[in-house]
Amino acid sequence: MNLLTPDPGLLFWMVLSFAVVFLLLAKFGFPVIVGAINKRKEFIEMSLLSAKQANEKLAKIQEESEQLLADAKAKQKDIIASAMQEKQKILEAAQEEARSSAKQIVDEATAHIAAEKDKALREVRSEVAALAIDIAEKIVGEKMSNTAEQQRTIEKLIDEL
């Protein structure tokens, strides 16, 4: 059978050309292609990973900014509230002070008035006494001695009036 006996000439060429093709392709052909495919696979995986990470980062930043905004709002509210309180306090204090100072002024004025009134009364009284003595002198026609006893008598008389 011709088909089943190996042919040395073809074997020679086969070994030679297969060796050449194998060495050529294994050196310059397949490593480049397979390397590029593997590198691209890695590149795609890395890109996906970094995209995922970027997404996560973005979400985190968004969350943080929202948190920040909420914090700021709360703080603003606090500040406003405390300012209001302060204002109320200051107002109240001012009112209190005004009230007390007004009262003091009124008290002082009252005391003053009372003192003035007393003084005035006393003056009026002594004036009246003097007048009464004068009138009585004139009526009696004699000069009454302006002694202390007489003075006392007059005052007693005035009091009885």
Binding site: L10, L11, I37
Partner: protein, 337 residues
């Protein structure tokens, strides 16, 4: 449906035309076996059709030195530089010297030329792919032919080689890729009926044996120590090793693996070629039986040939896949035993 009608029409046309053609060269009876074996075997010239023959260079080496001449110088029994083609005997159809002895014959025969064409095609395709990747780097995704080839290369590299060998597969990846594309290119070119193809390379036992020897080297010469231990001193009861039954079986197994690779590829491709050639021969066998018979058998033959060619296209890929996968599996077995 339209395409089917188109094919049917062409078949009809061919069955009208062929009988007329055949009538011209009558007389000599059609020898099916000779025709088929001529197509399957090797020859010193490349016969295309009718009288159209490409002469190929013959190179023979003997003690006297190297002799080169073209194949048309020794055709039809002519003698050139003391060499002629033997008409009968042990070396029938081969170049012999005046004494009827066979010199070392490294002629560029039909198969050798086909082999060189296959190698050229492979180198051009793969190296131009590599050039594309060198130019564009890994950040650009290829399209078209480069993309298709990338899918195949990636499939072989990851789904055959990596899946079968596992850890450390990179060492064998380039060899197995070469084997895969070599067998695939041979198979596909073998399916072409005219010049750049048509030779029966992967259906030639020399070629498949050489491929199997390379896989034998890849399997055995890079295997770890444990592999050889499992062959010569396997983990079996002592009495199986004392009379060296298991070692002998294991040792034979080392050689049956590449042998089965040789025969599988050889037989599959050879069978495909034989079936297609036989179906084609059907036209010429039925020629003396009248035009009606001949015409109808031509239609049958063309339809079956069409079917067989589609099947062979599948087989071309399948056998390349099987050879690569089995080699990878054997390598994996040797490494992970």
């Amino acid at each position: 449906m339209k395409a089917f009608l188109h094919i049917l029409f062409i078949c009809m046309l061919s069955c009208l035309a062929l009988p007329c053609f055949a009538e011209e060269k009558e007389e000599e009876a059609f020898d099916v076996a000779a025709t088929i074996f001529e197509h399957l075997g090797d020859s010193y010239e490349w016969h295309i059709a009718g009288d159209c023959v490409i002469p190929l260079p013959c190179i023979v080496i003997e003690k006297g030195g190297v002799a080169t001449f073209m194949s048309d110088e020794i055709e039809d029994g002519k003698v050139c530089k003391g060499y002629h083609i033997a008409e009968e005997g042990e070396y029938e159809g081969k170049i012999v010297n005046a004494d009827g002895e066979r010199p070392f014959d490294i002629s560029i025969t039909k198969n050798v030329l086909e082999l060189l064409i296959v190698c050229t095609v492979m180198c051009v395709v793969i190296l131009s792919l590599a050039a594309w990747y060198r130019k564009h780097g890994h950040k650009k995704a290829p399209g078209g032919f480069v993309g298709a080839m990338e899918a195949v290369i990636d499939f072989v590299d990851k789904d055959i080689v990596k899946a079968s060998i596992g850890h450390g597969y990179e060492k064998f990846s380039y060899y197995l890729l070469t084997i895969f594309f070599f067998i695939l290119t041979c198979n596909l070119l073998g399916l072409l009926p005219v010049f750049p193809g048509g030779a029966n390379l992967t259906g030639n036992i020399t070629v498949t044996a050489t491929l199997a020897i390379t896989s034998f080297i890849a399997i055995n010469f890079f295997a770890p120590k444990e592999y050889y231990k499992s062959i010569f001193w396997p983990d079996v009861p002592l009495f199986l090793k004392a009379i060296p039954l298991m070692p002998v079986i294991e040792f034979i197994g080392v050689f049956t693996k590449p042998f089965s690779l040789t025969i599988r590829l050889f037989a599959n491709i050879l069978a495909g070629h034989v079936v297609i050639l036989s179906l084609t021969c059907l036209i010429f066998i039925t020629e003396p039986m009248g035009e009606m018979m001949n015409g109808s058998m031509t239609v049958v033959s063309v339809l079956f040939c069409l079917f067989m060619n589609c099947l062979e296209l599948l087989v071309a890929f399948l056998q390349a896949y099987v050879f690569t996968m089995l080699t990878a599996t054997f390598i994996g077995m040797a490494h992970n035993e």
